[in-house]
């Protein structure tokens, strides 16, 4: 008896040890998922269908008028960087998958008969017949080229307005514009030279070829890294989600406790008017003090406001490091009335909260009225990570990244860990 017990225990221990070991070395892109296993939690009345799995690093996505879903990949799949998913029988699941475009990237959207997609330095467009979802691959045109791509924060997200302009985020390849990036004690550069070509949103013409900085307009500056952005058609303005800076506790333990470092700075939603300056790298939003304050690299002490007083203020603040990667204003009629014109935000999940528990890995909803938030944000879709608390970011099963609205008013969500696509719909 004793022996059996001992054997059972050591087997259990061996299994656990082996189990966690294999999780650690497993590459996230080869994980196998059965089609319907990817259950996520949703409010009452909503249900989800898994449209596709195993696309790999599925970043942003867009839906044509016929319901075909186009997904931009950050790692080529079978040599393709854009995947088209077609559902022939209307059960929500993709029955036919095809691809084109031989570059990796994040941004993708459809407007006025064109599909726009970005690499990490350029923007392309293709003619699309929205009634059939057919893309004329030969019509590829490079409309923007030569944007800063320095690895860090190199996603080029896209949004279009109703006046023929396209907005491209150019993330700053830096944490806080220090002389030596992410080296403790290295001072902030003042003025920050990165802002000339990055750390903001640039506006280009949607139909002009080979534009670069000389042809574009720096529409907004002082934005460290935006991945989720959307044009709000109700008020005709651009909204962006900024990823706040890292390393406050690691670099300034005299100002921030470990827990405060995990909660700060806020991830912020900005309503952008042309010429806006949102403050990076000089300013950060302190969730504890509920104020935009001077960054310690620029002499901040968690009290000084200084030059941050004049910067554009955010309209919603979220806990630190949750990594907002997708923003979508919902204009459909399928969901209950409270969702109309409100914002969905896909949070990729944190890493800079360690050793505090990681957080995020969910899609939230913020109700809006007349272009301004009209209530508190709430978690809409959850359960992506597969763990409740305490695990490392790399153990998250799925990481929400992109959001799109289908013509029937369903919400489509992508995950860039495995490449799973969900379609969320509502019925009473």
């Amino acid at each position: 008896m004793k022996n059996t017990l001992f054997l059972a225990c050591s087997l259990a221990i061996a299994a656990t040890a082996f189990g966690s070991d294999s999780t650690k070395v497993k590459t996230h892109s080869t994980a196998e998922v059965t089609r319907d296993a990817a259950a996520i939690t949703l409010p009452t009345g909503f249900r989800s269908v898994v449209v596709a799995t195993d696309l790999g690093r599925a970043r942003h996505l867009t839906v044509a008028a016929n319901g075909d879903i186009f997904v931009k990949l950050e790692k080529l799949k079978d040599g393709k960087g854009i995947i088209r998913l077609h559902d022939a029988n209307g059960d929500g699941k993709a029955d036919a998958t095809s691809g084109f475009g031989n570059y990796v990237g994040t941004g993708i959207c459809i407007k006025n008969g064109y599909l726009y997609a970005s690499s990490n330095s350029d923007v392309y467009r293709y003619k699309i017949d929205e009634k059939t979802g057919t893309v004329d691959i030969g019509s590829e045109q490079k409309i923007v080229t030569g944007l800063v791509d320095n690895n860090q924060h190199n996603s080029k997200s896209l949004a279009l307005d109703n006046d023929g302009n396209i907005y491209v985020n150019i993330g700053a390849p830096s944490n806080c514009c220090q002389v030596n990036d992410r080296v403790k004690g290295s001072p902030g550069q003042d003025p920050c030279p990165i802002l000339e070509k990055a750390g903001g949103i640039w506006q280009f013409k949607a139909d002009k070829l080979n534009q670069s900085y000389a042809e574009g307009v720096r529409y907004a500056t002082g934005l460290r890294n935006v991945v989720g952005l959307d044009w709000n058609n109700e008020v005709n303005e651009l909204y962006v989600m900024q990823h706040g800076r890292d390393m406050l506790f690691q670099f300034y333990p005299e100002l921030f406790t470990q827990k405060e470092g995990a909660e700060n700075p806020a991830e912020e939603l900005f309503r952008i008017k042309k010429g806006a300056d949102c403050g990076w790298p000089y300013c950060y939003y302190d969730n504890g003090k509920q104020e935009k304050l001077l960054n310690p690299e620029y002499g901040g002490d968690r009290k000084k406001v200084d030059r941050c007083a004049d910067k554009t203020k955010s309209i919603v603040q979220f806990p630190g490091h949750l990594a907002p990667n997708g923003l979508l204003f919902y204009t459909g009629n399928q969901f209950p009335a409270k969702y109309r014109n409100g914002a969905f935000i896909a949070f990729h999940g944190s890493w800079n909260r360690a050793p505090e528990p990681q957080a995020g890995f969910f899609v939230v909803f913020v109700p809006f009225k007349d272009g301004m938030p009209s209530g508190k944000w709430e978690v809409f879709a959850d359960g992506f990570s597969g763990f409740t608390s305490g695990a490392s970011t790399g153990q998250a099963k799925y990481r929400p990244c992109g959001l799109a609205q289908a013509p029937d008013g369903s919400l489509v969500i992508s995950d860039d860990n495995n490449g799973t696509i969900w379609k969320v719909s509502y019925s009473k």
Binding site: K24, N151, Q152, R182, V183, K184, M247, W351, N352, G394
Partner: protein, 138 residues
């Protein structure tokens, strides 16, 4: 008897190497853990598993287990981002150079800790080795 002599010699050599680290391997690993927590943990995570697409894992990689000079150089001089490739995956963050922030002893300790944690098993890195490389890379 003949076999005992080489064994003794190996033992003496091994101990004398260990003694180059104050307090021996155990103390070096303990000190290295503190350095890891203060400097490396944020990016490479408490369990060394890294962050997908952002920061590489420190588990049985060829850099962690391989040539000590190449490994020490990474910590001294840092990396730009996108330089490391693990099964086709690249990493977007830069690896910040630590030559201005960590002493030879701290770098030796943290690398000894990393090479003997997260399932890794490899020889120690000594302060003398870090010092020599630092001088060479100047």
């Amino acid at each position: 008897m003949k076999k005992v002599i080489p064994a003794t010699i190996i033992f003496i050599i091994a101990t004398s190497f260990a003694l180059q680290q104050p307090g021996g391997a155990k103390a070096a690993i303990a000190r290295g853990k503190t350095v890891y927590e203060n400097v490396c943990l944020a990016c490479h995570q408490p369990d060394g598993s890294g962050v997908p697409n952002m920061n590489p894992p420190l588990i049985k990689t060829k850099w962690v287990l391989g040539d000590k000079k190449a490994l020490t150089k990474i910590v001294l001089k840092g990396l730009q981002g996108g330089e490391i490739d693990i099964n086709g995956d690249k990493f977007h963050n830069p690896m910040p150079p630590q030559e201005s922030t960590l002493t030879d002893q701290e770098i030796a300790d943290v690398l000894t800790y990393v090479r003997n944690s997260f399932g890794n098993k490899a020889s120690m890195v000594t302060a003398a080795e870090v010092k020599a490389l630092r001088a060479k890379l100047k």
